[in-house]
Amino acid sequence: MRDQTLKYLLVAPAVLVVFATAVWPLIESLRFSFYQGRTDRGDFPQNWLGVENYEWAFLYEPAFWNSVWVTGLYTVITVALTTLFALGLAMLLAPGGKLRSGVQTLLILPFAMSPALIGVSFRFMFNPEFGLFDAFFGVVFPPLADVSWLADPDLAFAVIVMADVWGWIPFLTLVLIGGLASVPQDTIEAAQVDGASGWRVFKDVTLPQLMPVLAVVIILKAIFSLKTFDQVFMLTNGGPGTATQTLSHYIYITSTRYGQVGYAASVAWLMVIPMMVLTYFYAKFVFKKD
């Protein structure tokens, strides 16, 4: 057999699997998004609707806009908090930092946990009767002990933010440690000798040189925040009410619980838009030509 033919044969299984699990569902979901596609009626999908599904989301569905708002807020807050904490930790743990030791290895543990598991464990910790936080605040600040964290809309939102930030800090920290290690030490020392204080060295020399890595980290985290589902599903299931319903959760509920697959597909495709924008910038930073 000629090498030419052989090489195509060898990659064919992988291509087929990707096609069946990624490309085909994508195409189908795009097709469904233009149909009335309800699972509780026969002959799926039903009528061709054109862009009506999209119209419906935009014009008549407050729940859609609610989840857009929740997702947006959630993304902005988690990206900002995770990046800030991770940058601080990375500064401490980077070569020449103040905390470098076995801490780095421990750090990866939260990231090794599955998001669903993080959701379950946080749910337990915030349980108002036997949770860890109940016990903790019972000793430290009793007025906070009996708060039912997950029953209050704002507190529930804060809890999922916390769980997400906690879970993502390690990965971002490790990436930023790598980024910091690639900042040439002599530029930092040059700035010190030139007369810069610690803060100015960071602001004028370290941060600008860390920017490409930081940008990648922020975009990557934004992409993951936008599609957050597991923790919401495990911790609050979008509640109380729809206070913590992210877009992914909204799509899941409308398709599986209410059976509106066509409509859910159109919302999913709307979510693709911000993802595409972020991915574009991500690719631009990662594959930047020097």
Binding site: D194, G195, A196, V205, M211
Partner: protein, 355 residues
């Protein structure tokens, strides 16, 4: 402008001694070169002066202030790094202006001073570029300009020419020398290149294993080395070190050849130091010793003869018109005024009386 005093300076990392209890007094406006092989403690000494490394023990004085506890920014020094340490995200103008900016120089003053510094190192046309658009030599000039844009008390230069190609290094060396004479600021210069040390320094401190072996003018360390290490480190080619003994006033090689009268008491073991330039090449039988040529090299401005000297090889410099063949026998005559004797056990110089 200021003098620098190092009092019993020590730097240790665990068991490793970087700088071992060294004291050094650098005069105001002096150009002092710290010279030595890698790992000898020269860069560590400089980094301690800059404040980038904390001494384990000892005092550092700049002018009339002990700066041990001062941050680098408060020591009023300027430093040129081996890898330049330029800020890659800033233009050349901003790189040079940075020390002024962080020290709160009024905006109106910054521009003329940056332009003047750029002019001194001939960079005026590159001010709007970023460092990566410049060549190595140009980057080195930016680093220099950044150092001279202020008038610091002290210049510190850490192997500033070692990343340049050989030709550029010679040009930059002359420019550095010119600039330093013009500026008259106390300078500490670290290098492993003895030519740089010889050409630039007012005084050279030759270091080894964290200890200053000899401190003196270039003339001084070249013509009057304190020990075998300094003798072997300074000069190109390195000084020839010939093993032998001293018997009734004569130096006798290990092979038994009575070589040259040097006086002094008898010694069972001694090392004779003689530079290539102090060995005259004559015809066979006309020198102090007949040797056969192991290799003959013509460098253009002179010729180098590596000759087999018993079990050792020794390098002699000949006239540039000299032509010899490998294997030929020649007579070598030693210049009796420039012979050095060392103790092979500890490397110490054995002074040959008042010769």
């Amino acid at each position: 402008m200021a003098e620098i005093r190092l009092n019993n300076l020590t730097k240790r990392w665990g068991d490793f001694v970087g700088v071992d209890d060294q004291s050094l007094h650098i005069q105001d406006e002096e150009f002092l070169v710290l010279l030595g092989p890698s790992g000898c403690g020269k860069t560590t000494t400089m980094r301690m002066i800059a404040g980038l490394e904390d001494p384990t023990a000892g005092e550092i004085w700049i002018g009339d202030r002990m700066v041990n506890d001062d941050l680098p920014k408060d020591r009023d020094v300027a430093m040129v790094f081996q890898n330049y340490g330029l800020y890659p995200h800033m233009t050349i103008f901003d790189n040079i202006a940075y020390p002024l900016k962080v020290r709160g120089t009024p905006k109106a003053d910054i521009k003329p001073r940056v332009e003047k510094a750029a002019e001194q190192v001939e960079l005026t046309e590159f001010l709007h570029r970023k460092p990566k658009a410049l060549s190595g030599g140009q980057r080195q000039r930016v680093a220099l300009a950044r150092a001279i844009v202020r008038t610091p008390k002290v210049f510190l230069m850490d192997e500033p020419l070692s990343n340049l190609d050989a030709k550029l290094r010679v040009t930059m060396r002359a420019e550095l020398k010119h600039l330093s004479r013009q500026l008259q600021i106390t300078t500490v210069y670290v290098t492993h290149d003895q030519i740089e040390a010889m050409t630039l320094a007012d005084r050279v401190a030759v270091m080894r294993h964290g200890v200053i072996q000899q401190l003196g003018t270039p003339d001084n360390i070249y013509n009057d080395p304190a020990n075998m290490f300094v003798a072997g480190f300074i000069g190109s080619p390195a000084m020839n070190l010939i093993n032998g003994s001293v018997q009734s006033g004569m130096f006798v090689t290990t092979g038994g050849t009575r070589l040259v009268g040097i006086g002094g008491q008898d010694r069972a073991k001694a090392v004779l130091g003689v530079r290539a330039d102090d060995m005259e090449v004559h015809g066979a039988g006309q020198g102090d010793i007949d040797v056969s040529i192991y290799a003959f090299e013509n460098t253009g401005e002179s010729t180098l003869l590596t000759v087999q000297w018993g079990k050792q090889r020794v390098i002699a410099r000949g006239d540039r018109h000299l032509r010899k063949e490998q294997g030929e026998t020649v007579g070598i005559k030693l210049n009796p005024d420039h012979l050095y004797l060392f103790d092979p056990d500890n490397g110490d110089r054995i002074r040959l009386g008042d010769k």
